[in-house]
């Protein structure tokens, strides 16, 4: 496996695909890969995600047909503004699921099963708004009827980790693996971006063996994207950029402000983005208190 650029990885994706995005809310999201999608012509995507600004950016750019999620949040800002607009304007389809159902759907896909039984969903309106959901009766003496959570098979998965080697072995160094390994195994093709690419022999120098969440059998492409989760958190490498995120959320409030945000931050390549972010912070520091 050779290390590729985000644009080379996105060139392997197609419009209409179902794409799973790792991380959680505004935490360790593969934002450099998402930004590469924004620079491409990909559209009509189905996004499966514990959603945050990954989904928000794709929605704002009009690239999304359908969303599968249990929430969309920026964590320190509870509601994802572009998701709110897309829902309130009914511009997307939504499969709204309990968070645990989403995990089971990914697990079923990873295990190549048609579904997995789960109690979550029973009695709730998740069953009303997803009329395609079915229940299944236990074949054992208990006879219990449970939700048959269908496999959420993905055409592609995008995840961002702290370290990876060139072969696709990848390591998280923060407190939570989220569901990145499940996303990778649920997908026909999985792509890992990482803060640093290190020699395989160096992986255990940065974290214990238990931090090696992703192995190369799960992965089809690796990209080196320093600050590639920005503006979401990627601890211990960096925390969430709260000032920038607040600016993102504020810009989403009006079409004109959003056009300015896009022009300033999203009109160039990844290097231009990172430079514009640096300028954003330099100006804040220079501004009188």
């Amino acid at each position: 496996m050779t290390v590729r650029t985000p644009d080379e990885i996105v060139a392997e994706l197609r419009s209409g695909m179902t794409i799973g995005i790792g991380g959680w809310g505004s935490r360790r999201k593969p934002m450099a890969l998402v930004r590469a999608i924004l620079r491409s012509s990909l559209t009509d995507l189905e996004i499966v995600s514990y959603a945050g600004p990954d989904l928000g950016l794709l929605l704002a750019a009009g690239r999304v047909r359908k969303v599968v999620t249990g929430f969309a949040s920026l964590d320190s800002i509870p509601l994802e503004p572009h998701f709110r607009q897309a829902r309130q304007n009914a511009t997307i389809r939504l499969m709204e699921l309990d968070e645990g159902m989403l995990q089971l759907g990914l697990q079923a896909a990873a295990h190549r099963l048609p579904f997995l039984p789960v109690r979550a969903g029973l009695g709730s309106d998740v069953m009303r708004v997803n009329p395609e959901l079915r229940t299944v009766r236990s074949p054992y003496p208990d006879g219990e009827e449970l939700v048959a959570m269908p496999a959420l098979r993905l055409d592609a998965a995008l995840v961002h980790l702290n370290r990876a080697d060139e072969q696709g072995n990848a390591q998280y160094l923060g407190p939570d693996p989220y569901f990145d390994d499940l996303f990778c195994l649920a997908a026909d093709r999985a792509y890992v971006s990482a803060e640093e690419i290190v020699p395989t022999g160096g992986l255990l120098g940065t974290g214990p063996a238990q931090s090696l969440l992703i192995n190369r059998a799960m992965v089809h492409g690796v990209a080196h994207t320093p600050r590639g989760a920005h503006f979401t958190s990627c601890v211990p490498d960096y925390p969430r950029d709260e000032a920038f995120q607040a600016g993102y959320a504020a810009a989403a409030a009006s079409p004109q402000a959003w056009a300015e945000f896009q022009d300033r931050f999203l009109s160039g390549d990844e290097a231009a983005y990172q430079k514009a972010v640096q300028q954003f912070h330099d100006e804040r520091t220079a501004a009188p208190a």
Binding site: F83, Q88, D98, G100, G123, G143, E144
Partner: protein, 243 residues
């Protein structure tokens, strides 16, 4: 020591939700429930488990005592070793909760969080609710989207399906409510000091069961007040959630 504020009454009332739970994961959503859970652990519920809001379990001295990433939280949910206190944008008489959206789901007037873990929490383990502003906006005749499952919905399931469903209490800035009625309709359990029963009825958009002689929510003990003021919330952030 000065008299307890309304926020402090609410902290102690939230703490009471976890009394007798033993060693389960207490998952409070919001500041006052968080203070309540920590107060409960420091006093009458020492076995409770609490996270740092991310992936670590912290003991009463804030030392890391365990690791609980989201995947492990979901397993604890399914195993039933948890008692969550969630918020509610809408709550009805049978305890159906909505945190998803307001209006028609197909094109909501206001998109909120989404159902999050509400369906799985309520069908798997004890659930309580915290409502910082008791009003007819929240306490509605029927919620727009059932995220957390209420007692009428649970009753429509089989006994096996509903066997882990249990709504404990609803704590608000005015009162404590529960579902200890024959049909599991919401009941006024106690009013906070200085609040009248009529105020609660007026702020609730459906008929409440009102027992004869509604109790007054208990005052925090002097020891509890000292813990809240000196140890758990010295910056009085609680006053911003319940003025």
């Amino acid at each position: 020591m000065t008299e307890a504020t309304r926020a402090e009454i609410c902290v102690a009332a939230c703490a009471e939700a976890w009394r007798g739970d033993g060693a389960v994961l207490a998952s409070p959503m919001g500041l006052i429930p968080s203070l309540g859970a920590r107060l409960a652990r420091l006093t009458f519920a020492p076995d409770l488990l609490l996270t740092d809001g991310e992936a670590y379990l912290l003991d009463r001295d804030q030392a890391v005592e365990g690791w609980l990433p989201y995947r492990a939280v979901f397993t604890m949910v399914a195993a039933g070793r948890r008692h969550v206190m969630m918020g509610a944008s809408q709550l009805d008489r049978f305890g159906n909760q909505n945190i998803s959206c307001i209006g028609d789901w197909a094109r909501p007037k206001a998109q909120l969080l989404g159902v999050r873990g509400g369906p799985g929490n309520t069908i798997n383990h004890p659930t309580s609710y915290w409502v910082p502003r008791h009003s007819r906006r929240v306490f509605v005749p029927a919620v727009d989207m059932v995220s957390g499952v209420g007692y009428d919905r649970a009753a429509s399931l089989t006994p096996a399906q509903r066997r882990f469903h249990q709504l404990r209490v609803v704590v608000t800035n005015l009162a404590v409510l529960d579902f200890q009625t024959p049909d599991h309709g919401m009941r006024l359990r106690s009013v906070h000091p200085g609040v009248t029963v009529d105020e609660v009825i007026e702020a609730t958009g459906f008929p409440l069961a009102i027992p004869a002689g509604v109790a007054c929510t208990r005052q925090p003990t002097p020891a509890e007040l000292a813990l809240i003021r000196d140890r758990l919330d010295p910056d009085t952030s609680r006053d911003r959630e319940v003025p």
